[in-house]
Symmetry: C3
Subunit: 344 residues, 3 copies
């Protein structure tokens, strides 16, 4: 699909400087763009690229003053990054047009209900008493267990599984293969060394605007609810155990695991492959670096940590530096010992 620069300018309220008839068929980064592509300049670090880019057009800010001649047509916008993101959104919508209607075969229990403009893909399954809001998109192969509720405009990509009783808010995005509501890992040890399963009768509640990555797992609570609050973003292959609570607008990168009953605050940033042990409280705005191991509650807000077990960020960096100097330290101790010996 092709659009002229003039048409694009109209979509993003930009002013054209150069040839408005140039045709654009792709969006690209300024350093990778080719002829026929549109890019943008927002971060000053990338300014040098505007003089060498092969892009046919570039979105720049209204006050950008070129220092040398440019080959690209310019689109001047209030906020070039926001304007480009808007075009990305339009492109994304064109890529996967909003589906609606019911594909067959698919399974809807007799008392399942749904709002207008839903999509129920082939081989999807709605259990008893399931309630879907309007505009919900249930892609092929999704399983929604008995009595689940899903809010308006939430998208469930192929093969998502919601176990019975799970509640998902509005405007959420659940990626392929995520499992919401599997049993918590709870077993009572018996005197003979074997284990008895502790029934997991709680649920999972996801707030509004939550995104859950592909193949991530969120276990149901033993009692009560595992809770993921509004606006939380969870990456692929993350594990949240039973009775975990994630505060609003926190982000958790891929392959991180959080053990049972831990409560994470709001606006936290958790890196990839982090492990957090159970029954902790982590304050709002805390940042945990990738591969860290958190084994203690954190009561002060907004601090950054790193390491396994964690230390304050800068202190951990210094410890790591000295870990790499252990050989030197060992030799200096030996030298000191010899020096003392020689004086005896």
């Amino acid at each position: 699909m092709k659009l002229s620069v003039a048409q694009i300018a109209a979509l993003i309220q930009a002013d054209v400087e150069g040839d408005p008839s140039v045709e654009i068929h792709h969006l690209a980064k300024i350093e990778e763009a080719e002829h026929g592509m549109l890019s943008f300049l927002a971060n000053p670090k990338y300014t040098p690229y505007i003089y060498t880019t092969k892009a046919s057009a570039v979105i720049v800010s209204r006050d950008f003053v070129p220092q040398s001649p440019l080959s690209a047509t310019l689109l001047r916008a209030e906020d070039p990054y926001r304007a480009f993101t808007r075009l990305l959104e339009l492109a994304a919508e064109m890529l996967s047009p909003r589906k609606s209607g019911i594909e067959q075969p698919s399974h809807q229990s007799e008392d399942a209900s749904w709002g207008e403009d839903v999509y129920l893909g082939a081989f999807s399954y709605l259990g008893k008493g399931v309630k879907l809001g309007k505009g919900v998109k249930v892609h092929p192969g999704v399983y929604i267990g008995d009595h689940c509720e899903v809010g308006d405009h939430t998208v469930l990509y192929p093969q998502v599984v919601l176990y019975p009783g799970v509640r998902v808010g509005k405007g959420c995005i659940l990626h392929a293969g995520c499992r919401i509501g599997s049993d918590g890992f709870g077993f009572a040890p018996l005197p003979d060394g074997t284990y008895q399963k502790i029934p997991q009768t709680g649920i999972v509640v996801l707030g509004d605007g939550v995104e859950v990555g592909a193949n991530a797992c969120i276990d149901r609570a033993t009692l009560g609810a595992t809770e993921v609050k509004d606006g939380v973003k969870i990456d692929n292959l993350v594990q949240l155990a039973h009775n975990v609570e994630i505060g609003a607008h926190s982000v958790i990168a891929a392959q991180t695991g959080i053990a049972g009953s831990t409560r994470l605050g709001k606006y936290c940033m958790i890196g990839g492959q982090v492990g957090i042990v159970g029954h902790l409280r982590i304050a709002d705005g805390v940042k945990i670096d990738a591969q860290s191991g958190v084994n203690t509650s954190i009561s002060e807000k907004g601090l950054a940590f790193r390491g396994s077990p964690i230390q304050p960020f800068q202190r951990q960096l210094r410890s790591e530096l000295l870990f790499r100097k252990l050989e030197e330290m060992y030799k200096r101790i030996q030298t000191l010992e010899k020096a003392l010996e020689q004086r005896d």
Copy 2:
């Protein structure tokens, strides 16, 4: 659903002390319970809560003597925790009533067979020669490859995949999206730096009473079998490579990975995000702490380890403590050097 305290007392053989007509609609922890809920008191640590809980009724032991007046009705039982667990089990059964029968569309190869009281959910697939015991629950979207065998009363949650030839015991629980029998990761390097796939012709055998978490993966053996013995509990997103053997009644927490041909003993406890390299032997009853890296066989039974690479638990804790004191150690070495220099 509501039950009176008198009805609940009959279910768990308890004696009522207080109003037997009080209605209960939920089970909850004693510190979180509200009006209309039932809780229990087993761990003495929680005794103070019984004087402040809003629970309408609490299960206590037969010899519990209150130190102050109580508002909750008491149910006196032999073992309060066991009695409460029994109620949880009943609640769990009510939450997901035992399904049976065959939903359509679903696929059963002409020579697949199954016992009485099975459930074959919509979009489930039974390959050639598949044999299911009685009471097996095959939830929607499950795939069972050719010649697999599944023992009595095993539950396969939605979208489990059993590759051809896999054998699963009785009374197992396989959570959504676990993959049993995928190819082991085996490739022979060729002289030009590329790889030739080594066919993985073995199988996977799960014993009785095994639980496998959501999205966990257990690879088939190159030759022979990858074996998970009776009573083993495996958490979400765990990876077991080809020819691994897990001894009976061991538990493995989420996101742990065990490389090829390693044999873990019985009654082991492996924490989350642990990595164990291939071709090791780990003795019975060994405990490995979360995020550890095991790179050596362990021949002594029942010991605890931690760290990457592992050390005996207490020793690793001391090393970690000193890691956090490296800066102090470095400065003390410098001070010593200066002191010696000044004496020269």
Copy 3:
């Protein structure tokens, strides 16, 4: 299924030494083989086993000279390992005979197309404009989004998901539940601490001969493509973020995660549970040990690294050794301090 040693010899161009009528019903390792099984001897380390093995027949090299009498029939072949691998391949083919045809119900969009000899399993889904080469095997429950392309003879095991626009080369093997083309984890922070989703409009391109493990996830690019080049082998539960590039014939073990925009060279070997941060460049032939954390680009080819953060392999081993001696070092510093004090 049984074959005589004479029949097997014909399949692998071997010469029989001993009874050619012996019947073989299984392949096994030389140290585990029983009566009726065939094994092989390639690695001299295993030579002692040939005198004690219960195998009915063993493939040996043409120049093998036994030092004592043998009970097993010998098959003399040019390359015993290659010959055995060939039999494994034949066994694997018999285990899962090549399926073809279209099982019902399954979903093919009106303009989807496919070559000869494809298999479209029950409950599989082909979106609009999907193009499959010849001999492609789409197992039950696979979802292939709009406009995906899959090359000749590629196998998609049950419940693989290809999001729209993904391109997969020839001769690839995609294991159960892998997710190709899920959204990259990209969000722009807003002034109020919440996040705005950055549309992920790129694609994923897998080259020829790529293998992707069960439940692995490869995210689509923000713009452009996430690329996995020819011959790359990816193990179970691996995470590749948006805009990652993996050079040809690299191998990545289970549960490793690579963050956004990192480019890995050719012929690299990455161990299990490794984390690599975003925006790095890793040279060809680099080896990273299991559980390492890579936080810096590597420009020199073929080197080995270990640790989190990484150091050159041997140096990291020495640091780890001294980490375990920290207590001794601490005491020696104390001893030095006391010795100096006493001299004052």
